[in-house]
Symmetry: D2
Subunit: 130 residues, 4 copies
């Protein structure tokens, strides 16, 4: 990854993984046809309520990382995404983030729009059966 | 906090809290008389094995935050630090990090030096009884 | 400075200095009685048009840095701030940023409010004559 | 670009462009067959002595940016790279960085290895004549 992401231990700084998780989340949403920029244009926001990372093996400068993002399809007011980060076959990190849906205007929680659950679920279902 | 720490929701970006936790950790170690820079000079490193944050209330640009760091005094190969972040009386975030001790030269785990546990424990004990 | 600010050369990453300049800017504005958060509340923004840094001596983890910010008091549509960063007596970095004033609503440039120039100028004048 | 790169103006934070320049630099070196990771493995470092950016048009979250990096082929102790950042046809930013070569072991400046100048120059020449 980027030189800027490393620290003086010569490895990627622990807090940077949450940016990698964001990249995984962004890609998943884009691939489902629900890009996050579009979600914001519709007046919604998806702030993070909770985040967690486990560091298995250090990522180094210029490593090419792959981020696998999955979605917990349970109907509830919050949504959870899980991430696994790999460097070739090496398991680098795993973690999750939990998000609420907010109406941007009022900054108050709203239910995730039904289309949201359905679209991600059917996308992940389609991928699994490939 | 810094403008650089905010994102376009107008709040501090979720990954930045792990930098705040680092600041809390650094301060605790310095106050105990075990500054992290000194730990590294002695050939040890304290990489993060696991990190967790819960976001209670958003922090905004220019907010003055206070970070309370505590130490779990259990003798085991890893150490755990807990953080609570406040903005005046508002509870902004809490979280923890779990660290191992590595020998910098070999990057292999070593037992936390006894002095480490003792110093932090007696510091926290002293503070509690104030 | 923060561990997060370092890179694998073991020094503060070049891009991080622009965050230090931001800190210097924020402090200057606050001391003048014109905190940036207040400028934004009045519907104005101060985006950066140009930025420059010269790196004289590396800053390391846990270094205590001092940032001296000065203001170029010339009446024109943009404003320029100059920064010098020191570590004790060691000259670490210098640089500048040039900003325009934008009306937040329209994102169009406006003249710097007169009070802005006057307040900073008289603050710096007062400091110089101390 | 990444959500983490934005600030509360809703645009990419000024200091982040120096990370984009790093990405451009990394890509140029890799394409020339001189990846920066390899340069470090050979015991050299390329710290930044000076950096400059001009912001023409804001980059937003999720914008796809293209970074064009060029190399000033003048034989002297420092090297200069120039960057232009585009979003489709919109000119977003331009800037430059000046680097010295250091021997990692001693942290003392050394002349850029001749192969360095020759390789980049012939790569850029080859590209130009395409």
């Amino acid at each position: 990854m980027r030189y800027a992401d490393t620290d003086q231990m010569g490895i990627v700084y622990n807090g940077v993984y949450f940016v990698y998780f964001e990249i995984g989340r962004t890609e998943l949403l884009r691939e489902c046809g629900l890009p996050y920029a579009e979600i914001e244009r519709q007046g919604l926001m998806l702030p993070v309520l909770e985040s967690h990372a486990v560091y298995k093996s250090p990522a180094l400068y210029d490593d090419l990382l792959e981020i696998h993002t999955t979605f917990e399809n349970v109907v509830k007011p919050t949504i959870r995404l899980d991430y696994k980060v790999f460097k070739n076959d090496v398991f680098v990190s795993e973690g999750y983030t939990i998000h609420s849906f907010l109406k941007a205007e009022t900054r108050r929680p709203v239910r995730p729009p039904r289309i949201f659950h359905e679209t991600i679920a059917s996308y992940i279902e389609a991928k699994r059966s490939q």
